[in-house]
């Protein structure tokens, strides 16, 4: 079997096994970890310093972070050759990816970008390599929106998939919470106390323009745009109790979805096709995850294990990640709603909360809290590998990947 064939097969097995027992899955996860292909850059020439060097360094790290590759000095199952050069402030890359097992060229492309964009170009190249080698989408070009408190207030920040280029998005000196990308990553919705009470806002990323989606008396929170961008799920309490609503269009008339006079709802997340919404409700007495049709009806409880199950994130392949209180810790669990199988993907060394799926449906970003300090980590749900993304200079919460 070719290296790319093995990679694809390993991934398919690992996803399929979610339907089986935990014990069986552990075996396959180890197989998945072992299935990393080796890749070498021996045939690629680039300057030892400057933008060309940065490009190689960043792309190498991206390939490692992708979960599919292990870098070797030479003789890799995949071989990267070509040249990266800077001329007159312009970075030009000619790159060939060879699948050594099949003795075939998997990718042959030239790239050009302003030298100041070396990191961005590297992410794009890494995603092309992952796609060519595995057939799967990479997430190196994705970005994160997150909440940080290093100014003393909770503000929104954005950063690249490797935690670099961290930039403060809001300067509200208020409380900013629960940011979510939407509308093909052209918008960020979030909750802010900018006007003195919790209201739902949408930021147009390109222009920086901000509009209020809901500012009724009481609670207006957790706005999340539907995959088609034409609706917004959110929590409102204006009818006397926190309930789940859907606004169509965002900011428009709100249809009430839940009717739980003795319970509170929170944390909506849309199914990939936009037909359903997963959310948290304590209608059973403790917070648990439920799924309801976007047009209403009876919610169906989907979590059973764990005292509390919160902060669901619906992934592109249909799996739900959420934070589950197991013993005294919050852990990230992954549920396949089709089979009901649950997989815990974090170790018992800290509290893990607020998961968000990368667009490959394999990696999760989440908040990791240890000793009352919070940082953002990347978790490979296949191998359980964990990589720090954003830490230090205050606490970091609520990451959300571009889709």
């Amino acid at each position: 079997m070719t290296a790319s064939g093995r990679l694809t097969a390993a991934f398919a097995i690992a996803l399929g096994v979610v339907a089986m027992t935990t014990a069986a899955q552990d075996i396959v996860v180890r197989k998945g970890a072992a299935a990393k292909a080796t890749v070498d850059w021996a045939g690629f020439s680039a300057p030892s310093a400057g933008p060309g060097a940065t490009l190689v360094q960043v792309a190498r790290q991206d390939l490692e972070r992708s979960g599919w590759f292990r870098t070797v000095g030479a003789g890799g199952e995949f071989r990267i050759s070509g040249e990266g050069a800077e001329r007159g402030g312009q970075l030009t890359v000619a790159l060939v990816l060879t699948d050594a097992g099949r003795n075939a060229v998997a990718l042959n492309r030239t790239y050009s970008a302003d030298a100041s964009q070396a990191r961005t170009l590297a992410h794009r190249i890494a995603d092309d390599i992952v796609k060519a080698a595995t057939g799967r989408d990479g997430f190196a070009s994705s970005r994160l929106v997150l909440v940080g408190n290093r100014t003393g207030r909770k503000e929104l920040y954005v950063c690249d998939s490797d935690g670099h280029n961290l930039m403060q998005l809001t300067q509200d000196r208020s409380i900013s919470l629960y940011p979510r990308w939407g509308a093909n990553n052209s918008a960020i919705t979030y909750t802010s106390y900018l006007r003195g009470f919790p209201a739902a806002f949408r930021i147009d990323v390109a222009t920086g323009r901000r509009e209020m989606l809901a500012g009724f008396p009481g609670l207006n929170t957790a706005p999340v745009l539907s995959p088609d961008g034409r609706s917004c799920a959110l929590i409102l309490s204006r009818e006397g109790n926190p309930e789940l609503y859907v606004q169509t269009p965002p900011g428009g008339p709100a249809t009430r979805i839940t009717r739980t006079p003795h319970a509170a709802e929170s944390s909506p997340t849309w199914s990939p096709d936009g037909s359903r919404i997963a959310f948290v409700s304590d209608m059973s007495g403790k917070p648990q995850v439920y799924i309801v049709s976007r047009s209403g009806g009876a919610p169906q409880r989907v979590t059973s294990r764990g005292v509390e199950n919160v902060a669901p994130a619906w992934g592109p392949d249909g799996r739900l990640a959420y934070a589950s209180r197991l013993g005294s810790r919050f852990q990230i669990c992954v549920l396949d709603p089709a089979s009901g199988a649950v997989d815990t993907v974090t170790p018992d060394d800290a509290d893990y909360e607020d998961p968000s799926w990368a667009r490959n449906g394999r990696h999760l970003a989440c908040a990791r809290t240890s000793g009352h300090r919070s940082s953002i980590v990347l978790i490979d749900t296949l191998t359980r590998d964990q990589i720090p993304l954003v830490s230090g200079s205050g606490d970091w919460y609520s990451p959300d990947w571009t889709k």
Partner: protein, 175 residues
């Protein structure tokens, strides 16, 4: 008046408020509000039934803080404890004495549990106090709620005592 009698009176008043609230129920979009009206004498308040809804704009104005004792809650609960009722009754007395003043009830949680869920829980706490005040005869349109979840602790420790002090409802009077 004894606690018990006051509590019973409050219950009757709540039932009346719930019933009479139908006349002034704000027009809602979408599928509208529940049709059920709480029968007299049954459980405190059917929150979320629409009758206790908040209409108009969020209150704004000059705030007076610290006039009243905070109302404390049990972990993961929005139920009003018997020990806290007299604090809410003192607020009702003040509102009766100053009929032009309005009230914001701020709901807070301890740091445990999910941040997003805590925001909803804080709102439930504020709404429970609001319902109690409505039960004591205060007009619903004078009272709004604001949840801070776990964002504004008053005690910064990570222990039972700090958590107890942070699970609270606070009162802000508006001129």
């Amino acid at each position: 008046m004894s606690q018990t009698i006051r509590w019973c009176a409050a219950m009757v008043a709540v039932a009346l408020a719930v019933g009479s609230g139908c006349r002034t129920r704000p027009k809602t979009t979408g599928t509208g509000a529940d049709s059920g009206v709480n029968p007299l004498g049954v459980a405190p308040v059917q929150m979320g039934a629409g009758e206790l809804g908040m209409s108009g704009e969020p209150f704004a104005g000059t705030e007076q803080r610290g006039l009243f004792a905070p109302v404390y809650f049990a972990y993961d609960s929005s139920a009003i404890e018997a020990s806290e009722r007299s604090k809410i009754e003192a607020v009702a007395d003040a509102l009766r004495a100053s009929p032009t003043k309005r009230l914001i009830i701020e709901g807070h949680c301890d740091e445990r549990g999910s941040n997003e869920y805590n925001l909803a829980l804080g709102e439930r706490r504020a709404l429970a106090i609001r319902a109690y005040l409505i039960g004591l005869g205060i007009s619903a349109d004078r009272i709004q709620t604001k949840s801070y979840g776990e964002e504004q602790p008053v005690a910064f420790g990570h222990n039972e005592e700090a958590w107890r002090l942070n699970r609270r409802g606070e009162f802000v009077l508006l001129e």
